[in-house]
Subunit: 329 residues, 2 copies
Amino acid sequence: MILTAKYAEIYDGQIKVLEEKFTNLLKDAKPDSLYDPCKYIITSGGKRLRPFLVLISAKAAGGDFAQAYNAAVAVELLHNFTLVHDDIMDKADLRRGRETVHVKYGLNPAILSGDNLVAIAYKNLILDCRINITEILNEFTCGLIEVCEGQSYDTDFETTDDVSIEQYLLMIRKKTAVMAEMCCKVGGLLATTDHSIVDALGNFGLNLGMAFQIQDDLLDIMADQEKFGKKVGGDLVEGKKTFLYIRALEKSEGTDREKLLEVTRNKGIDWNDVGFYRNLYIKLGVIEAAESEIKKYTEIALESLNKLPETEARHTLEWLANALIKRAK
Amino acid sequence: MILTAKYAEIYDGQIKVLEEKFTNLLKDAKPDSLYDPCKYIITSGGKRLRPFLVLISAKAAGGDFAQAYNAAVAVELLHNFTLVHDDIMDKADLRRGRETVHVKYGLNPAILSGDNLVAIAYKNLILDCRINITEILNEFTCGLIEVCEGQSYDTDFETTDDVSIEQYLLMIRKKTAVMAEMCCKVGGLLATTDHSIVDALGNFGLNLGMAFQIQDDLLDIMADQEKFGKKVGGDLVEGKKTFLYIRALEKSEGTDREKLLEVTRNKGIDWNDVGFYRNLYIKLGVIEAAESEIKKYTEIALESLNKLPETEARHTLEWLANALIKRAK
């Protein structure tokens, strides 16, 4: 218990450092029409998991935090770019309790500030590249390509009736997990030329990312409303094809199946019906199916850490993987 | 005259090679929802000036074409990304005589395929980085940042009454000229570590880009309709603040000034009034002012080539600068 507190302290301490960096970034950049939206999104908080993965991976690979801050900033800028553009595409009005960028500043500044965030991300990344330069840039770039592909698959799913679990897993792999993999690999590549270390870190990140996304799907329907921060059941209301929904459809028959098909047919359900579908998910056993899938990916992630030397940084990664399973939002 | 034909042949030959590369690029990439729009824009032709600048600059710096093709593809992909996103922002329906990407495929695929083009651009660029890696990536990245800033300034101008020539020149420098500078520097950096060569190439590109953009403004009102490929006078119809418009406003008084102010007040003019404004521009001497500005920038560009060894590649750059002044579209 005392040990756990220590790792949480390492995380909290680094988040503080990162927040200060995000506050000071782009301070005097002009024009305001471009940089105000950029500053608005990068100072809007969030868990800062991706930059933390870069930092702690660099340390786990034998480096230190100081040599990875610019790269950490870079991955968070890249993540924020995806948020800005995804929110446009999803027509989302709110993000982290605030207006989304396109709602606050308009479509054109949102598109352009997203583009600019990508460029500033690269600019920061390059600052930290001392060894493995082309590899680091390739990882970062391929991460960006896969995120675009994942987002396209996700959009395709809206108009596809029979999305399989395999297709779903490929989509979240590209849209979420590859980015976590990239963060861990970039952190490792900043600090070591030992590719077994880098690959172990990448494997950790990839599987952590898979677990994280399925946990996200699960929380959306099973979270404690008090702690969740947004309304429980949003995925069903939007008619999204989540892990739970696809598994439920596979397992259901008769009227249960009919009720599930209604979700996509009507492009979502009413908030009042969330409870009904939660009970249906429980009855069909897809809650346990999701929990077991999350456990499976988390175990693979933890196992791959065995290839790293036993350091405080490695234990922090273990703590992080376990903490994410238990998260409430 | 025979020599000129030789340089044109070098250009034509390389454009053919490039076109084949663009046709084969992304052939088996999935999903189609992401890559069809990408392939649509990159096979839509155009002058391919930017990739040619990379190739011929590499050669002028002592390298050869073969070591610069991926980087050449990269700058054209980056340029095409700006076209896709700019067309969304400008609500443009047509580009090179075809539907724009967002009109043909919709807003979301246009945003996302633009994003993806940036990533694929980096992926290609990295392939050619053997020396000066961080410098090349920095040039490319700063080029992208400045393009975003330039586009923001351009958008700001739509709602700014008193845009000065200095502000206009800063805008076209960022939006157009820096990209040409980047192409020449990247080409040089692929082939040499001699920074005096790289700087001379960059200076050539920057000034060529300035001349090119003012020439663009000039052609829009003075081009031969038969050869121009689109309707003459579009900038006035859209109410854009071009070099000619800003200079005309500075030089005008009384009713002339009133007529010019109407252009922005009414957010553009009627196609039928293009002739009137052309005559007004001629009367106010802004056609000559533009021509002299184009000449000035072209001369600076040509002068900076004197720092390069006298090779066929250098002469090709000279030919290109002179040919662009005389272009009809």
